[in-house]
């Protein structure tokens, strides 16, 4: 937290920037860092650019080439993620052994959580589709087709990663006419086919509109290569949510019985009535036999001063 740091920010802009980066209860939308590797083919370079277009404004494309190997040394990505405050990354490269390689990954607390390497096949860029594109910042609908996304553990992890990558900004309310984008992931023959459509809502007979889709692009298939998944422990830690202050229900007390009275039941416990501490009554101090003498007369009340007189006398 800015107020917890030894170095204080000197400008308001600096203060705001630090406040943006600090740990929060409700987090910012995850930003994606797009990195080009040492060598990229035209296809994979274009694919990365399209990914950048899809993820704008929550994406950052690094200009220079970075000849790194994420699966061997992830420290560069972690450093950049810390520098630019991004928790998702996409790394594109091309080599003879791994043509059109795309590594998608995410970080927790600027440390690698999981990453998956895909081979991009059958890529068609965004510009080749003549359909008008959706506005920047639209929250897309996501569709996963295939039973493997719910059964196979690797594919479940991939689904989680893709959800995180493409979910868009977190909103409380959504404008129903603004549901314009659909991204479909289908599992087919070891490939995840990714298709992106523009939604047009047409009036139908009922209240629910009829959907028409136009493929907007980009279009590609992802073939799974290597992966480095988070252990259940790591994932559990990353999932830890802050304790939201809930209104604690107080038992036994009715705050308002409708007439403005606050009612409750007092549980006293077991009481021994003869051992109760009440006001001091001298009459109750004396044993009961004194009260009724044999002749039926009440014994005269004795005072302390009488005792003293007697003592002095005797």
């Amino acid at each position: 937290m800015a107020s917890n740091s030894v170095i204080k920010p000197k400008t308001q802009a600096g203060k705001r920037a630090l406040a943006r980066r600090e740990e929060k209860v409700i987090e910012n939308t995850k930003s994606c860092l797009l990195i080009r590797g040492g060598n990229t083919s035209e296809a994979i370079g274009s694919c990365l650019k399209d990914l950048y277009s899809l993820k704008k404004p929550h994406a950052l494309m690094l200009k220079r080439r970075n000849p790194i190997l994420p699966f061997e040394e992830i420290s560069f990505v972690e450093k950049m993620s810390r520098k630019y405050d991004c928790s998702l990354f996409a790394f594109a490269s091309h080599s003879k052994k791994r043509p059109n390689n795309l590594v998608l990954g995410r970080l927790f607390n600027y440390q690698l959580l999981d990453m998956i390497e895909f081979g991009v096949e059958g890529y068609q860029p965004l510009c080749t589709f003549p359909v008008a594109k959706v506005p920047v910042g639209t929250k897309p609908c996501l569709s996963f087709q295939g039973e493997e996304f719910d059964s196979d553990p690797t594919l479940m992890a991939i689904k989680n990663l893709l959800l995180d990558m493409f979910q868009g900004p977190r909103v409380e309310k959504i404008r129903l006419q603004g549901i314009e984008h659909l991204i479909q992931f289908s599992y087919c023959d070891g490939q995840i086919l990714v298709r992106s459509y523009r939604i047009l809502l047409k009036s139908s007979g009922s209240k629910i509109p009829r959907v028409e889709l136009f493929e907007m692009g980009p279009r590609f298939g992802l073939r799974l290569r290597r992966h480095k998944l988070a252990t259940p422990e790591q994932f559990k830690q990353a999932r830890r949510q802050p304790k939201v202050a809930t209104i604690k229900k107080i038992k036994n007390i009715v705050p308002d019985d409708g007439l403005g009275n606050r009612l409750g039941r007092v549980h006293v416990g077991r009481q021994e009535l003869d051992k109760l501490q009440t006001r001091k009554v001298k009459a109750l101090k004396r044993p009961r036999e004194d009260f009724n003498a044999a002749d039926g007369k009440k014994i005269k009340k004795r005072r302390l001063s009488d005792n003293k007189k007697q003592k002095n006398k005797g």
Binding site: Y110, S143, D150, I174, Y197, E233, A238
Partner: protein, 349 residues
């Protein structure tokens, strides 16, 4: 393209917080081949989108906000990891503790203050405020030294106040650290991930058994349950003891080593060496400078010796091509070696 293959088998599930539809039906393998793939996928997508939108329209209550129809989204049900760990509660500072005990509450101050000197309302802070350090005239108080610089005094006092405030702020940070808070951020960004207790325990077990005695003599950490020792410990024979036993063991080792060699005498090598010796002694006359000369040297064609070619000659002929190549590279190596040899650092013995 009527696609009803998918709709009926397993109904899709939804996560409206993410605008997500999970359709667990597999794609029709026949339709995914060839040119039918794209129209088929588009049809599948259309069906999914329609189901999702019907779900949204039915489940979520629509509200009207300034000529737009909006629907509140529920929180997502799919577990997604966070970006950073949740914030830790900050311990209260010394002043905050004091204020809490004395039940001092913060009074909201108004932005404008009446400034007597100029006779107008001025903002309390920021541009246009009545800054005491910008005074052009200062009264010298009666108790003060007449030669004292009053403006300088004000400046000094302000500096001291600022320094005191800074000191108290740092004290609060160090206090938080001592009380077990997070390390203060020396730069922007979070700290490293803390291991869970399980991971720490595992690391401890591994570290302990990573020594020669497999953790037998390591100090026990508080709260640690020590199980049986896992891992093999190297056993060494005692240094002192029976000499004959030790000798016997060494002999055994040597025997095993010797038994491994199936052919203790390399016959081929022995024969070659014998031939060499014979030739050297026999061809002493031919040899110049101790070097054996090939018999082909003087004539262009092949040399015919009495009684046919010697075995050595035959071998040489068949391997001549191979040897020429080897010789060429050998010469190169020799050159390298001589070059290397010339660059010795010390005295050549």
């Amino acid at each position: 393209h009527a696609m009803s293959v998918l709709a009926t088998s397993v109904p899709p599930t939804f996560d409206l917080g993410l605008l997500l539809i999970n359709n667990p039906n597999p794609l029709d393998p026949a339709s995914t081949r060839g040119p039918e793939l794209e129209p088929y996928l588009a049809a599948v997508a259309r069906e999914n989108a329609q189901s999702l939108l019907s779900e949204i329209w039915q489940r979520l209550p629509a509200e009207r906000v300034e000529d737009a129809v909006v629907a509140p989204l529920p929180p997502p049900s799919t577990p997604l990891p966070r970006e950073k760990p949740p914030p830790k509660p900050k311990p209260p500072s010394r002043w905050e503790e004091f204020a809490r005990l004395k039940s001092i509450r913060r009074n909201k101050k108004e932005q404008a203050v009446w400034d007597e000197a100029t006779g107008e309302w001025r903002p309390r802070w920021g541009y246009g405020r009545a800054d005491p350090s910008k005074e052009w005239l200062l009264e010298v108080p009666a108790s003060a030294d007449p030669n004292e610089d009053q403006f300088g005094r004000l400046k000094k006092e302000k500096k001291e106040r600022v320094a005191k405030n800074e000191l108290q702020r740092l004290k609060n940070i160090s206090r938080n650290m001592r009380l077990g808070g997070t390390l203060p951020a020396l730069s922007a960004g979070g700290g490293g991930a803390t291991s869970s207790s399980k991971e720490l325990k595992r690391a401890l077990v591994v570290a302990k058994r990573s020594d020669a005695s497999v953790g037998q003599f390591s100090a026990k950490v508080g709260g640690e349950k020590v199980g049986h020792l896992q891992g093999r410990r190297r056993h060494f024979l005692p240094n002192t003891g029976s000499l004959t036993a030790e000798r016997g063991i060494q002999e055994q080792v040597l025997k095993e080593l010797a038994a491994r060699r199936t052919d203790p005498l390399n016959t081929e090598r022995a024969v070659n060496r014998l031939q060499q010796q014979r030739e050297q002694s026999g061809d002493a006359a031919n040899a110049v400078n101790g070097r054996r000369r090939p018999q082909k040297k003087k004539t262009a064609g092949k040399v015919s010796t009495e009684g046919g070619k010697s075995r050595r000659q035959n071998a040489r002929d068949s391997k001549s091509r191979k040897y020429k190549k080897a010789a060429a590279s050998g010469r190169a190596n020799q050159k390298m070696k001589s070059l290397m040899k010339s660059k010795t650092l010390g005295k050549r013995k």
